[in-house]
């Protein structure tokens, strides 16, 4: 199944989806050294987002979060791609400076954790391949 969205940052990446209904704050909410979500009470608390296609509604929290994403990319703990329902400035800037393919305007209710996705940030599409 192919879903049409909007391109935010270019590039194509394939990976396993990890989906949450909660917003994500990279600054303080994710440990950039381990790649795990550490925000208390978050749906993904304790789970690693490293190497995954991270699917969530929108970003939240401090603008420093963009730098946290860059740090994760350098640490090899970043997600391979990001899919949002509605992008915010922090995640958009984070994806651009970290060069993480990103698409938004996707109905994320159609995606389940564990599915394999191909995110095409250059075209603004995602494909659920299994």
């Amino acid at each position: 199944m192919k879903l049409e969205g909007r391109k935010i940052y270019k590039g194509i990446a394939e990976g396993e989806a990890i989906v949450t209904k909660d917003g994500i704050s990279f600054y303080g909410g994710v440990d950039p050294d381990t790649g795990k979500v550490v925000e208390v009470g978050h749906e993904l608390e304790g789970q690693s987002i490293t190497g995954k296609v991270l699917v969530f509604p929108t970003g939240k929290g401090s603008t420093v979060g963009s730098y946290t994403m860059y740090r994760m990319k350098k640490n090899n703990t970043a997600p391979v791609a990001i899919v949002n329902k509605q992008i915010d400035t922090i995640i958009a800037v984070g994806c651009i400076i970290s060069e993480i393919p990103c698409v938004d305007k996707i109905d994320i209710d159609n995606i389940n954790t564990g599915q394999i996705l191909v995110v095409n940030g250059s075209e603004g599409t995602i494909e659920i391949i299994e």
């Binding site: 940052y9 600054y27 420093v64 963009s66 946290t68 740090r71 994760m72 400035t89 958009a92 400076i97």
Partner: protein
């Protein structure tokens, strides 16, 4: 988005790597927020300066940008994690100081003026009414939009840097007339006075707007306000409500430009102020730290502190946080000597919010509602708000 040929060439890399990355950031933001074109900015204020927030990764990003990036417009910096001259006396460790200086050097290499202050409008980065700017630092954004009537969105560190290196920002949000109308009418039925009380007022309004999901208050009933009171109000209303613009009848320059909001309104009275003030005073607080200058103290505030401290001795850690240029004026005027003879310390370039002092003190007394928020959330101190006079009384008990 329509780009000029120069902007297009920046995007294609003809002006170097840093300008290309910057234009990628700005055009993407422009697309997200449905902007048609870029506007030229008069000046930029950059946040994300403290090494405690940047970390090695942020520093690496800045170093990459500094490879070939040069500012095209007047650009100043937010406070750093330490006083660049006096850090040892203030208890900052050497490793942190070294890393903080690496970050500041990267900014300097790009041609950014390393003033390290949250009050750029007091030290020469001074836009006038109607000018487009790209500022980070929520309190300064609120001051520029509301008190000066300049136009800026709430930029983050990287997007502000992108504007500095290109001289551009996408034309959306607070740059446009249609997004600058007041949304909520707030009538103040009591006299508000002092930096502390204006901070308390900012918290009431910020909290309330958060609940309402609104951003632009239109405030009536304030007869007069000093620059320092407005500075404190801006910091507070931005911290508690994410407010980037307010109108204040008879005080701010744009209040008459748009219709008064009529749909939602509420009053704030003396009881509301007292109740919210009590929320900014923790129980069983043991004060071992007093700090004035959030946002950075003006020369007028420093003069007042000097007159209150003259001939006294402080018996607690006492910081006056300010911009270095303001500190230099205080040196020349003789205020610094009076203050330092009393045992208080200047912490220029930094503040009690961004310095790495988490857990170092038990309780902090301040005249700033913003400092209360970060004192609790970031540094795990108990907090107490008071007037400048009360802060000095506490320090000299």
């Amino acid at each position: 988005m329509k780009l000029t040929s120069e902007e297009q060439e920046m995007l294609e890399g003809k002006y170097g790597k840093a300008a290309k990355k910057s234009m990628e950031i700005l055009t993407t933001l422009g697309e997200i927020f449905h902007s048609d074109y870029m506007v030229d900015v008069y000046g930029v204020q950059i946040a994300g300066v403290s090494y405690a927030n940047l970390g090695e990764a942020g520093l690496e990003f800045l170093s990459e940008m500094a490879d070939d990036g040069k500012v095209r417009v007047l650009t100043t910096l937010n406070p750093a994690g330490m006083d660049r001259e006096n850090w040892k006396v203030l208890g900052i460790d050497e490793e942190f100081a070294k890393n903080q200086n690496r970050a500041i050097d990267a900014f300097a290499k790009m041609g950014i003026i390393t003033t390290c202050s949250c009050t750029p409008y007091l030290i020469g980065n001074a836009p006038h009414f109607g000018q487009h700017i790209a500022w980070a630092e929520s309190s300064a954004v609120c001051y520029a939009n509301s008190v000066i009537g300049a136009r800026t969105n709430r930029e983050g560190g990287p997007s502000a840097l992108a504007s500095a290196l290109t001289g551009k920002t996408p034309n959306y949000g607070y740059h446009l007339d249609q997004n600058r109308h007041g949304e909520v009418l707030i009538n103040i039925t009591t006299q508000v006075k002092g930096t502390d009380e204006f901070g308390v007022l900012g918290k009431i309004i910020g909290d309330k707007l958060g609940e309402l999901g609104k951003k632009i208050p239109y405030i009536t009933g304030i007869d007069s306000a000093t620059m320092e009171e407005l500075k404190s109000f801006c910091a507070s209303v931005a911290t508690y409500g994410g407010v980037a613009l307010f109108h204040m009848e008879g005080i701010t320059p744009e209040y008459n430009n748009y219709p008064k909001p009529t749909e939602i309104s509420f009053d704030i009275d003396r009881k509301d102020l007292e109740k919210t003030r009590s929320e900014l005073i923790d129980e069983d607080i043991e004060i071992d730290f007093v700090s004035i200058g959030c946002p950075h103290a003006s020369i007028h505030e420093i003069a007042k502190i000097a007159s209150l401290l003259d001939g006294k001795k402080v018996n607690k850690e006492f910081w006056i946080t300010t911009a270095r240029p303001t500190k230099k004026i205080a040196d020349e005027a003789g205020y610094s000597k009076i203050i330092e003879d009393a045992g208080a310390k200047f912490a220029a370039d930094t503040c009690c919010v961004v310095a790495p002092i988490k857990g170092r003190f038990k309780g902090i007394m301040v005249d700033s509602a913003k400092a209360c928020y970060y004192g609790r959330a970031k540094n795990q101190f108990k907090v107490k708000i008071g007037t400048i006079e009360e802060c000095i009384e506490e320090a000299t008990l």
